[in-house]
Amino acid sequence: MANRPMLEIVSLEKRFGPNTILKKIDLKVTEGELVFVIGPSGSGKSTMLRCCNRLEEPTSGDIIVDGRNIMAGTRRDLDRMRLQIGMVFQGFHLYPHMSVLKNVTLAQRKALKRSKTEADARAMDMLEQVGMAHKADAYPGELSGGQQQRVAIARSLALDPKVMLFDEPTSALDPELVGSVLKVMKDLKSKGMTMVVVSHEMGFARETADRVIFMDGGVVVEQGTPDEIFGAPKAERTRAFLSRVSG
């Protein structure tokens, strides 16, 4: 089922007062696909991502995750569906008052209602996967940014999401710590996770992305394989953006 759509964004529109941030965006992400979103700041890429789990409320449009529309249904349905949509933030947002292990078990216990044994075991598996199992008892404040971000990824993964959203996951990191996070994301991709990544790590996009999307002014200007976008961009705006970021 390689072409099963995991995440569909259907004519998504977002307005803040008189400003239209997203103008009828359509995007289909299939199972196991890694879609990489680039664009200048203010292009709406983060807003689009945040609309995918309704952290930002869309003005209109539909968000369909594995066949279910998250715009329909009650608040509780939404919370249940959010469990299937992992999100990784630029600022990590680990809970500072909880150990790493507790950070990863909280939503498993309280939202998925897993037992402590089950949640702990699952957490340790996920921490192992991101190379952070040895820090299970540490507190977020004791970790480097890269380590915190990997724990944040484990926190999302522990809920068995169907799709993972990454909102500039390495932008707040010191350059030498970026690699560890990208490696975890690459592993995740090779395990077949469906991923949407908003980021400026072009090298990572070239190497790992199935598809690159260029957004500007609230619309998808151009999309294609990394080779197409980085090698031979068709739109003038794409070319201008790419020369700015690589220059």
Binding site: N53, L55, R75, R76, D79, R80, M81, R82, L83, I85, G86, M87, F89, G91, H93, L94, Y95, P96, H97, L106, A107, K110, A111, L112, Y139, G141, E142, L143, S144, A152, R155, S156, L159
Partner: protein, 227 residues
Amino acid sequence: MTAMERFLETFFNPTVMAKYTPDIIAGIWVTLTIAAAVIVAGIAAGLALACLRSYGIRVLNFFIICYADIFRALPPLVVILILYFGFPSIGIQLSGPMVLFIVLAATLAAFAEEIFWAGFSSVEKGQWEAGIATGLGFTRTLAYVALPQAVRLAIPPLVNRVLAITKMTALGSAIGVSEILSSATTAQSFSGSATPLTMSVVAYLVIFLPMVVIARWLESRTAWKKR
């Protein structure tokens, strides 16, 4: 009689001390009981109000803010006198200790609400988003993510406020609640000596100095573990 002897006779008269010690001790118990009840009820109510306020229901928040502002503005003594002397005329008869408890707890609740609310406001928006994005929903994010952080931020100012309000149990002397100060002034007028007042000073120190020390200790352990 030297000046020193007169001083000791006035403030540290052993006969007076012996005679009125039981009264002062009884006063200590009254003060402690009312203070404990005020602290528990005031903090619980304040926290509940701050939690309710975080839901952002406009009408409700209007009333919460009005309540907090009014009770922070009013001198508790005024409210105490109205409840104790005024309310019986409209058929509501409350005992002295009950009036003292209600007014002080309500005052503490108003301050505590503002303090906890300040705590909630300084919890990063990203913390809420992390909780909500992991399917916890608003209420569970409030309970497990925001609340513990808000409480931690609130402890130092809260402890100061708790000390300030519990000391106001002395206002009970205005409506005949036999707490420490009231017992001491009664003893003073019967004995004609200032010694009972000295005893009340000692009694207050015995109660509140440990609380100040506990406050310091609490404040010192509110910092997050840092690298």
